[in-house]
């Protein structure tokens, strides 16, 4: 079974319906034993220093792994993806472009999804069959999420791990489902974790490898992982087009804001951490969230993969202390 890489969440149902293995390049990069070496390797090839670490990591993992093709999301995610796609083409890697329409137009999205289905030579019935199967797994993700914020049984890190992995189900939906089911059964026997500062984490997943542990050591717990939760497609719909229209991540700051506001209210959050990547255009959007979200707000910036640095740690500590006082 050939592996199909992708640069951010795409209609994974199509890849699985084509009997291919989906591989989220982001997860491959950040879970590799030495992610910094991957960034360095891209820089040695000529990637500029002042470019996002994720793009460089994605480039190196895609070059190293023998992938059948890479689906590159060239609209609805970072525009650097276009150059990433081109430099991968230069290496002879087969590229399939995919674009989420910025205006969230259903017709345009349908065209994109049908194009992807044509490429993989799968029909809508096959895709919907896979969707029904994946939705069973996604329901477990939603259960895990409510066990995080409602029942206080699941940590922010565990929530992050399972939800961030739901973009490709760790390339093996059956195994992912089994692992998650076991985890949920075990977590149900825990006693609730009370009295901690409740945080929301908004923005792309962190490039820091120990952010959640650091926060927990300070007496704070993340009860909302915004983008990771979106990966689990938390929308009850049988319509695949509607599912990828409801998915907020590719449709700009305001689409995301609506979902964030709704969740913040529901989850009784004390403060919000907005994570942005150094050199990312989302650093500009920070000012939108800062203005619109009326809760204590901390902006974090991550550059290279690795542990939380001293400056970031100080910010986190001061923020958690401020919320405790």
């Amino acid at each position: 079974m050939g592996e199909i890489g992708f640069t951010t969440t795409i209609p994974v149902e199509i890849v699985i319906a084509a009997k291919k293995k989906p591989v989220d390049l982001n997860n491959l990069f950040i879970s590799s034993p030495r992610p910094q070496e991957l960034v360095d390797a891209a820089e040695q090839e000529g990637y500029p220093r002042n470019t996002c670490g994720w793009i460089k990591g994605l480039y190196s993992v895609a070059v190293k792994r023998s992938l059948e093709a890479v689906i590159a999301v060239i609209q609805g995610d970072c525009s650097n993806t276009q150059a990433l796609m081109e430099t991968l083409q230069l290496k002879g890697i087969n590229i399939i472009p995919f674009a989420y329409p910025f205006d969230r137009d259903r017709k345009t999205l349908e065209t994109q999804i049908f194009k992807l289905m044509d490429f993989f030579q799968v029909g809508i019935d096959d895709v919907l069959r896979v969707k029904a199967r994946l939705d069973n797994i996604r329901r477990l993700c939603w259960e895990l999420d409510s066990m995080t914020w409602q029942d206080d049984l699941v940590s922010g890190l565990e929530n992050h791990y399972y939800l961030v992995s739901s973009s490709d189900f760790n390339s093996d939906p059956f195994k992912y489902e089994k692992d998650l089911r076991n985890f949920i059964d075990k977590a149900k026997r825990r006693s609730p974790c009370k009295g901690q500062v409740r945080l929301a984490y908004i923005g792309v997943p962190p490039i820091f490898t120990d952010l959640y542990e650091v926060l927990e050591s300070m007496g704070a717990r993340v009860v909302f992982n915004e983008v990771q939760r979106q990966f689990s497609m938390p929308f009850k719909t049988g319509d695949i087009f509607e599912q990828y229209l409801n998915y907020t991540y590719p449709y700009g700051a305001f689409a995301r804001l609506e979902d964030i506001q709704e969740q913040l209210e529901q989850r009784m959050v004390d403060g919000v951490i907005h994570y942005t990547q150094t050199f990312c255009y989302r650093q500009i959007e920070d000012l939108i969230y800062r203005e619109k979200i009326k809760l204590p707000f901390l902006t974090l910036e991550g550059d290279k993969p690795g542990k939380v640095d001293a400056r970031t740690r100080m910010r986190l500590e001061a923020f958690v202390n401020m919320l405790k006082a």
Binding site: E301, D303, A310, E317, N321, M322, A325
Partner: protein, 232 residues
């Protein structure tokens, strides 16, 4: 009782040397200390403390103790700048820090004073002689350094460049401060508060009176000591 400043990087012998010198100055033994709180970048490497607290919390307590009317603290240290909004009790209400760039910090002044062949302590008085501050357009320390070198080559007076450097720091920090919102009294602390040029430029930028904290290099340490005292 006793205080000491030693220039050092994080993870060096700085904190322990300071501690030893302070003991000598205060004429006490280490065993006489009943509670110890460490703050600042070196707090993680200093062994044997009862608690480590971030300097944001400690500056708030220290400044509030010295200036009870303070509501906005601008702390410009060697490697970063912070704006801290505090309550009348010295509690942190909000804070913002500069991004990962040395422009608008003490490091920027150090680099510039080297280019101007003076010391960072003398930079303030050098700038005060200026009649017309030179414009420094670069936002980055590294680029600003080459900009200043070419200005020197073009014959622009050192004092005018020094005044321009103060304005550049003030512009940068004022931008940060406006994002949090300024509430009087505004107190400048950290090593850079000893530079009257920055103090004045900052006041002009923010269109408000900015006062220097008494003992600006020690407000964080003082805050840590107050917290330690209260926890006894």
């Amino acid at each position: 009782m006793a205080s000491k400043v030693i220039a050092s990087g994080t993870g060096t012998s700085g904190p322990i040397r300071v501690f030893e010198e302070v003991l000598v100055q205060a004429r006490i033994d280490a065993q006489d200390i009943v509670r110890m709180v460490a703050t600042g970048y070196g707090r993680m490497t200093f062994k044997g403390v009862d608690r480590q607290i971030s300097e944001i919390t400690c500056h708030a307590r220290g400044v509030s103790h010295l200036v009870p009317t303070a509501r906005t603290i601008i702390d410009i240290g060697g490697q970063d700048a912070k704006i801290i909004k505090i309550s009348d009790k010295g509690k942190v209400l909000n804070f913002l820090m500069n991004d990962k760039c040395a422009a608008g910090t003490g490091r920027f002044l150090e680099v510039m004073s080297r280019v101007l062949e003076t010391t960072v302590d003398q930079l303030g008085s050098l700038g005060s002689k200026s009649a017309k501050a030179a414009a420094i357009s670069s936002t980055c320390t590294v680029f600003a350094e080459s900009e200043v070198i070419s200005q020197l080559a073009a014959g622009i007076l050192k004092e005018d460049i020094a005044a321009g450097v103060h304005q550049a720091v003030a512009r940068r920090v004022a931008g940060l401060a406006r994002r949090v919102g300024i509430e009087e009294d505004v107190i400048l602390t950290g090593g850079v508060a000893q530079n009257p040029g920055v103090l004045e430029a900052l006041g002009k930028q923010l269109k408000t009176m900015v006062k220097s904290a008494p003992i600006p290099q020690f407000t964080g340490a003082l805050g840590a000591a107050i917290i330690a005292w209260e926890e006894l």
